[in-house]
């Protein structure tokens, strides 16, 4: 095990670094999933109470959609083609892909993020957090088969954590 | 003392004969014991290896076989039950220049000594391990051994043993021995050849000698070793040659799929080309040979397996040489003062 402090190569399982004496024990002891971690790891996404998704067809006009999002306070739309999840369109997509081009009328399928990362209801909260952290996005659709059911947002996750921190 | 492979010095070694290896001790095995024959052949082959007599060591365990070192005029160590391979490993590690023979028996090597046998073979320590297998405990007067047949009635098993025997060759194979052979106490030429091969082998050489204890287990191997029947009931192996046996050498072993079967040349269209050719380097053939036995098959004798790989003592020596080459010969003063030191100055005391 490489000592994280001085980079010296130690034998696996060494308690202290043979070069600088740093404690290696704590670095390879697996932590049990107890308490808060256990709750994150163990609970399923349905516990988050993510709201039902708002789905739109791929041909829908993006200008109308942006207006609707603004009016109804929706920050994420699921885009379907033939009833199947094809992409996701969020306020971020709107900002990044429309800025500088004004309100051009285009089908939302041209601006959506296609083939989004998806989860199922029985996936755990930890998986959702991981996907968001790794992918850098704040929304993950929950599907059944290929039908979108709901959208989990980072906001839902934070709310869940906040209620359990106390 | 030099580091050459057979310990010979630069000047010529005086030619030794069998008599040089006979010690002054009266041989005390039971009359008719198979050990006499093994001893004679061992003494006979010793001169062939070119080692000076003082560089040859015999280490034995406990058992009738354990007496052998006393009858060899070399350095000898009659040690404790089952531990000879361990002692021999240490000797070889300290003195790679010596030729070391380990003399053991089926009880000494497979019962109490099983662990040490396995590990000395696994390490490929440069030893010749000769195991006298009489399928009984002779010295302690007749108890069953790990190679005794199932249900054997003895003093310690009056109702028959409830233990299954084990194949010593299979154990040697499982321990990855680099030389495995079997021979018979009364087949003098074959013993000689086998011991020669073991002696010349570089690495662990394991030889099972089917030996007859005429007092406590007479005739244990006679059914197939007897002069009249041995041609038909034993399979003499030779690397690269087909596995033929029988008085007319017209029977052989063939693989049917992966299973061995006995076939007769000339019957059912069998020709010599169908016979399995022995390959000393093939582990699957070795496994098969370790597991076939009379009466289902002829008993294989000869060299079952022979491969080449570095020995324990040469690897150990190699590491030392490498360490000296890369770090220089050890300096004791530097070693003692290694780590973090500080100096206390002399006081105006």
């Amino acid at each position: 095990m490489i000592c994280p402090v001085c980079n010296f190569g130690n034998y696996p399982g060494d308690d202290t670094c043979a070069n600088c004496g740093a404690d290696l024990w704590a670095l390879d002891t697996p932590e049990p999933a107890t308490g808060f971690h256990g709750r994150l790891l163990g609970r399923h996404l349905e516990e988050l109470g993510a709201p039902a998704a708002v789905s739109v067809d791929g041909a829908a006009d993006v200008v109308e959609l942006v207006e609707r999002m603004h009016r109804d306070g929706i920050d994420c739309l699921l885009v379907t083609e033939d009833g199947r999840l094809a992409g996701i369109f969020t306020d971020r997509d709107a900002i990044l892909k429309m800025a500088g081009r004004g309100l051009e009328h285009r089908p939302v399928r041209d601006l959506m993020t296609p083939d989004p990362v998806i989860l199922r209801h029985d996936d755990t909260i930890a998986v959702a957090i991981n996907k968001m952290a790794v992918g850098g996005f704040r929304h993950v659709p929950i599907v059944e088969g290929s039908h979108p059911i709901a959208v989990v947002s980072a906001r839902d996750v934070f709310r869940h954590i906040a209620t359990r921190l106390g | 003392m030099t580091e050459s492979t057979n310990g010979t010095t630069a000047t010529a070694v005086p030619t030794l004969t069998r008599k040089d290896f006979v010690s002054d001790q009266e041989v005390r095995w039971c009359p008719g014991c198979g050990d006499y024959s093994i001893l004679a052949q061992t003494q006979k082959v010793m001169p062939d290896f070119g080692y000076p007599r003082e560089n040859i060591v015999f280490i034995s365990g406990i058992g009738c076989s354990g007496r052998l070192p006393y009858y060899m005029n070399t350095y000898g160590f009659h040690s404790i039950h089952g531990r000879a391979p361990a002692i021999a490993t240490g000797l070889k590690a300290a003195r790679p220049d010596l030729m070391v023979w380990v003399i053991t028996g089926d009880g000494d090597a497979l019962s109490i000594g099983g662990n040490h046998l396995i590990h000395s073979l696994r390490r490929n320590v440069d030893l010749r391990i000769v195991m006298f297998n009489n399928r009984i405990y002779g010295l302690t007067k007749g108890q069953a051994s790990p190679t005794s047949e199932f249900g054997k009635v003895t003093k310690s098993s009056p109702f028959g043993t409830v233990d299954y025997p084990v194949s010593p060759l299979a154990i040697a194979l499982a321990a990855e021995a680099s030389f495995i052979a079997r021979t018979v106490d009364t087949h003098t030429e074959h013993i000689q050849q086998t011991l020669e091969g073991a002696g010349r082998h570089h690495g662990s050489a394991f030889v099972e000698v089917l030996q007859n204890c005429n007092i406590f287990n007479d005739g244990a191997h006679r059914e197939f070793t007897d002069r009249e029947v041995r041609d038909d009931r034993m399979l003499s192996l030779e690397h690269g040659k087909p596995m033929l046996f029988g008085k007319e050498r017209n029977k052989g072993i063939r693989l049917h799929g992966h299973k061995p079967e006995i076939v007769t040349i000339g019957e059912n269209g069998i020709s010599e080309a169908d016979i399995l050719v022995h390959d000393e380097t093939d582990p699957l053939i070795a496994f098969m040979l370790a597991h076939i036995y009379w009466p289902e098959f002829p008993v294989p004798v000869g060299v079952i397996r022979r491969i080449s790989r570095p020995t324990h003592d040469e690897l150990m020596t190699g590491q030392i040489e490498q360490a000296v080459a890369s770090r220089g010969k050890g300096d004791l003063a530097k070693l003692l003062a290694s780590g973090e030191t500080w100096t206390v100055e002399g006081d105006a005391e």
Binding site: V5, C6, N7, G13, T16, N19, C20, G21, A22, D23, W25, A26, L27, D28, T29, E31, P32 | S23, Q25, P52, R53, E54, I62, Y70, Y75, G76, F77, I80, R83, A86, I87, A88, G90, L91, A93, R95, D97, L98, N115, H116, I118, H119, M316, I320, V324, G328, G330, L332, A333, L335, L336, A337, S338, E340, T341, W342, T343, V344, D347, E349
Partner: protein, 622 residues
């Protein structure tokens, strides 16, 4: 929690301080302890240390089995133990506090990392309330420091992860302690720069933590006193810190050089002896051959084989392994080959407590073989002495062609003390020649003075002979069942060992050569006994101390020494092994003080027992 003190900072001089660092295994307590030790040593204090490793390989963070401790004592005088009790306990988390508080005396100082006293951590070890705030620590002088927070602040701006920053908090604690005891940061700073020369950011983080801890002590008002421990007057020379196991390994390497023979070490991993194998395995450029055998018996078997070939065959183990080696050790006695068996004793019986110390194998090594099968026995008294006794063990083994048992224990093995590094030229000559002369050679022809048989190694022309476990005829060396011969050989083997008594240094007495009470010890009880006797003598008690390094045979003057005192007290970490040997051998009514707790004796308990025994003498007629 800071308390404003109105008294100005004072500095008090002390003769001796004992600190115990305790924390999670991830808190770096071993490193902290050894750094403090080193600095104290460089400053000139005498030091003694005792690390207390967790017994489990891994335990969850913050749990009791995961607590790692390091106790050190430093002084302006010569000290012999790491201290009965700490004067100050540095506890980095609740688990460390819970498992160590019992050893802190009332009024002792307690420095805690208050940041670690979170509800979760408290809950892990069963604290219902926070001891830092519930008043339960009122009897102690508590200094509650937010070490984690302050440490994190010190590393602000550095490109270190949170984990890396947390790993520097032990340097904060170290810096604080350096301030408290007025020690320079320079040796540690130099050490940091050297060890982390390839990672300057880490080095900077560590240095900042160190300085932050020091400055915290300086600027905060929670500490009202600093302590000064002046340097001790140690003999001039070059020193290093050394543990018993390290000294043992070095001693055997030295012995192989002095004897000009290959060192062959056959061993099987066993706590607490494994480190000897690890050390020796690294010394290949000294020609050292190490062999990790498949079991304990193979280990000693291989060592015997190596000795048979003319090398120095050594095997090392602890109590359970020694039990396994009995038969082979008997073989070594019968074939009369030189062999050293190291026993780093630990608490037993059976598996016992593998990381705890004990002295329970003396009778085993004396008698644990079939028939009369004597081996010589030596026992170092301090960690550094393991070096000298290793060489002494080989001196005896080679000169008398006998196995020698080297009795160490877990306390010696892991404890450390300063060692005056010897010059190899000053070490004793122990080499013996191999027999080469053919004329008049017999395997058991004995040297008239030592009774040793000749060492004729394989490879020597003309000396071919057979040895083994069967009884041999005197001189000629053939297998013999002759009754008179067996008696004679048995007696000769006994006499050979007994004769060593004339060849070992006399038993020395610390204190007056006669008096009321002699405390007699062996092995690692040296430090506690010596310290106790020093204190008793200061109080005018007629108590002296003698410490055996040779246990079989005893030095020639042992009986005379023992009889010069009215009573002999033998403290041992067993139920009376040396006691039994002394009583049986000399018919002296010695008494024992026996505690089998898996821990070394405390100086105070030996003082008390000695006073009690002397008191009894006073009460009885002479």
């Amino acid at each position: 929690m800071t308390t404003v003190r109105e008294r100005p900072m004072t500095a008090r001089q002390l003769e001796r301080v004992t600190i115990r660092f305790a924390g999670d295994s991830g808190d770096g307590m071993q490193l902290t302890g050894s750094q403090f030790t080193r600095t104290a040593a460089v400053f000139g204090n005498d030091i003694s240390t005792y690390p207390d490793f967790p017994a489990e390989i891994r335990a969850p963070a913050g749990s009791l089995p995961g607590v790692s401790g390091f106790q050190l004592s430093f002084a302006s005088t010569e000290i012999h133990t790491p201290g009965d009790q700490p004067d100050v306990l540095v506890a980095m988390n609740p688990a460390a506090l819970k498992s160590n508080l019992g050893d802190l005396p009332i009024g002792g100082a307690l420095v805690v990392n208050e940041d670690a006293f979170t509800p979760v951590n408290l809950n892990k070890v069963g604290y219902a309330t926070n001891p830092l705030t519930d008043g339960s620590l009122a009897a102690y002088d508590v200094f509650s420091v937010p070490i984690s927070t302050l440490n994190a602040r010190a590393s602000e701006g550095l490109e270190l992860t949170n984990k890396q920053v947390d790993l520097t908090k032990n340097f904060f604690a170290l810096g604080l302690m350096f301030w408290l005891y007025d020690r320079s940061l320079d040796p540690t700073i130099r050490w940091i720069d050297e060890k982390f020369s390839k990672r300057p950011v880490i080095a900077e983080g560590n240095k900042r933590a160190l300085r932050a801890g020091y400055n915290f002590g300086e600027t905060t008002e929670i500490f009202h006193e600093r302590y000064l421990v002046p340097p001790a007057r140690l003999a001039p020379g070059r020193y290093r810190n050394i543990t018993g196991n390290e000294a043992t390994a070095l001693g055997f390497v030295a012995a192989s050089q002095l004897a000009d023979r290959t060192l062959f070490y056959g061993s099987y991993p066993i706590t607490p002896a494994s480190d000897i194998l690890h050390s020796l395995a690294a010394y290949k450029n000294f020609g050292v051959k190490t062999y990790q055998a498949e079991d304990e018996i193979a280990a000693i078997g291989a060592a015997i084989g190596a000795s048979y070939g003319g090398a120095l065959g050594i095997t090392g183990t602890s109590g359970p392994g020694l039990a396994l080696k009995s038969e082979a050790l008997g073989l070594a006695v019968m074939v009369e080959l030189p062999l050293v068996v190291i026993d780093v004793q630990r608490a037993g019986p059976s598996t016992g407590m593998p990381t705890k110390t004990e002295q329970g194998d003396l009778l085993q090594v004396m008698f644990g073989r079939n028939s009369d099968s004597p081996v010589a026995v030596v026992a170092p008294a301090t960690p550094a002495e393991c070096f000298d006794m290793a060489i002494e063990a080989w001196r005896i083994a080679l000169k008398y062609m006998t196995p020698v048992a080297f009795m160490s224990d877990a306390f010696l093995a892991n404890g450390a003390e300063p060692w005056a590094i010897p010059d190899p030229d000053d070490l004793p000559h122990i080499a013996v020649p191999n027999r080469t002369e053919k004329d008049g050679f017999y395997p058991y022809l004995r040297d008239p003075e030592t009774l040793a048989r000749p060492w004729a190694v394989p490879g020597t022309p003309g000396l071919e002979h057979r040895i083994g476990g069967l009884e041999k005829s005197d001189v000629i060396g053939n297998v013999s069942y002759d009754p008179e011969n067996h008696h004679r050989m048995t007696v000769l083997r006994q006499e050979k060992i007994a004769g060593i008594a004339a060849d070992v240094p006399p038993l020395e007495v610390y204190g007056a050569p006669e008096g009321d009470l002699l405390i007699l010890g062996w092995g690692s009880t040296y430090g506690a006994i010596r310290s106790a006797v020093e204190r008793l003598r200061e109080r005018g008690q007629a108590v002296s101390h003698a410490h055996l390094r040779h246990l079989n045979p005893f030095p020639a003057n042992t009986e005379a020494v023992l009889r010069s005192f009215r009573r002999v007290l033998i403290p041992e970490l067993n139920l009376g092994h040396l006691l039994m040997l002394v009583r049986a051998r000399y018919l002296i009514d010695a008494v024992g003080y026996n505690r089998v707790r898996g821990k070394p004796f405390r100086i105070a308990e030996l003082e008390a027992e000695a006073e009690r025994v002397v008191g009894e003498l006073e009460g009885s007629a002479t």
